[in-house]
């Protein structure tokens, strides 16, 4: 069964569980003891099914989420490297300007000596 189908089933079971509970309460209010007990039993059976389905859905989801998290972590490394690439390139441009400054200093010294 596909996850979406299971979620549809969960939704339907939850609605049935609510209705069984409502009918049980209604029977209790009207003094229909036997009917209330019957709805109570149906309600309990539905609860077991719901909890089992919820457990399966959550556990499957945890597995899928973990796999996607690992993929995202890998992908984030690549994007992080891209940010660092840009930062490095800006740094390189700044270093070149600094290096040119040193060359200019050397020119000034050389000019002072020769001229």
């Amino acid at each position: 069964m596909k996850p979406t189908e299971r979620n549809l089933l969960l939704d339907t079971l939850s609605v049935c569980y609510n209705r069984a509970n409502y009918l049980k309460a209604l029977c209790e209010e009207q003094g229909l003891v036997d009917e209330a007990i019957r709805f109570g039993r149906r309600k309990d059976r539905l609860k077991v099914e719901i909890d089992g389905l919820l457990r399966d859905l959550y556990l499957d989801w945890i597995g899928d989420a973990n796999a996607l998290k690992n993929k995202l972590d890998e992908s984030n490394k690549a994007v992080d490297a891209a940010v660092k690439d840009i930062e490095r390139k800006i740094e390189t441009a700044q270093n070149i300007v600094k290096a040119l400054g040193y060359i200019d200093d050397a020119i000034k010294i050389a000019a002072g000596l020769v001229l």
């Binding site: 989420a65 300007v97 060359i103």
Partner: protein, 324 residues
């Protein structure tokens, strides 16, 4: 001496051009506008709101499931105390036979937090890569200024008699070319990241929507269990004494309605994530483009923020009304 100076000048020009080889090689960068960071910031903000919203819904879900278990277990005549006892194993291991469902909800909440963290990091990195702080015009203006200063000093020392405007033009052109080159690299990285992660974003969106549906079913079922003790207490009292239980039931209903509204809005937000993500790439190519997908996502996320704040308030109210 003049021959030596000429040699040095050529060397300086060569070093600057080495810094920006693709610019020298092609004229593709002319007119390469900066990335508009706004859609990226909006995308990141919407992701944060969606994550806060789903965590708020998950928190209510966990509390309800745990309380529902306690109420159900306590009222069941077949319950045995030993069923609540943990059996410690080797090292850090432990076991609880027939673990209650709320523990699985807790486990899923941890998984969600980790997944959200990874996705938030992705949205952060995209925003950082698109940020004006990363490739700032100011830092390139400073580069041009420094280049000007260096070249002017050298020309003055050598007594070359070169006009400052001539040097300034060359320096500005060099630093602008470097900026365009880096800007082009940045846009290439952004497009690659968006293209490569489109599938991951679609998976993330689908996974979160699937979890929302599970939470919806969970909350619907455990609403019933939460009504049970209130109903019993209400039936056991009469007159004014019923007020407290009537109020407790109204608070529970309010919280249920708030959770459903948050879940519904969350579904709209998560559904909008993949389209908005694809729109980020369109926005790089055309910075002034009105990216409808991102606007839709952002508006939904803002509505969501208001809704989950209301949910938090009603959850607090419910906790207070439960206290004796």
């Amino acid at each position: 001496m003049m021959k030596y100076v000429g040699l040095l000048q050529r060397r300086i020009a060569w070093v600057i051009l080495r810094c920006i080889p693709p610019v020298a090689a092609c004229g593709l960068l002319i007119g390469c506008a900066s990335v508009n960071p706004e859609p990226f910031a909006q995308y990141r903000s919407a992701v944060q709101e969606a994550q806060s919203g789903i965590d708020a819904a998950m928190s209510v879900n966990y509390t309800w499931t745990r309380s529902g278990y306690i109420e159900g277990f306590s009222s069941d005549p077949n319950s045995r105390f030993t069923q609540l006892m943990i059996q410690p194993g080797q090292g850090y291991d432990w076991l609880l036979l027939n673990p209650p469902i709320y523990l699985t909800v807790k486990q899923a909440r941890s998984g969600l937090a980790e997944l959200n963290q990874a996705f938030a990091k992705y949205a952060d990195l995209l925003a950082k890569l698109a940020s004006p702080d990363l490739v700032s015009t100011a830092s390139f203006d400073q580069l041009a200024k420094d280049l000007n200063q260096n070249a002017n000093d050298a020309a003055k020392a050598l007594g070359l008699g070169v006009r400052p405007e001539g040097i300034a033009l060359f320096s500005t052109a060099a630093s602008e070319a470097a900026r365009l080159y880096i800007e082009n690299r940045r846009q290439h990285h952004l497009k690659t990241a968006i293209q490569k992660n489109q599938g991951n974003v679609a998976d993330y969106s689908a996974l979160c929507v699937s979890l929302l549906h599970t939470i919806r079913g969970n909350v619907k079922a455990y609403y019933v269990d939460r009504t049970e003790p209130i109903k019993n207490a209400w039936n056991a009292t009469a007159g004014e004494k019923r007020q407290k239980n009537t109020e407790a039931m109204l608070n529970l209903n309010e919280q249920y309605a708030d959770v459903m509204r948050v879940l519904q809005e969350l579904e709209a937000t998560y559904d909008a994530l993949p389209e908005a993500h694809a729109d980020l790439a369109k926005g790089i190519a055309t910075p002034k483009l009105d990216v409808a997908g991102i606007q839709k996502l952002y508006t939904s996320a803002k509505r969501l923020q208001q809704l989950y704040n209301e949910l938090k308030k009603t959850a607090e109210k419910e906790t207070k009304s439960e206290k004796p």
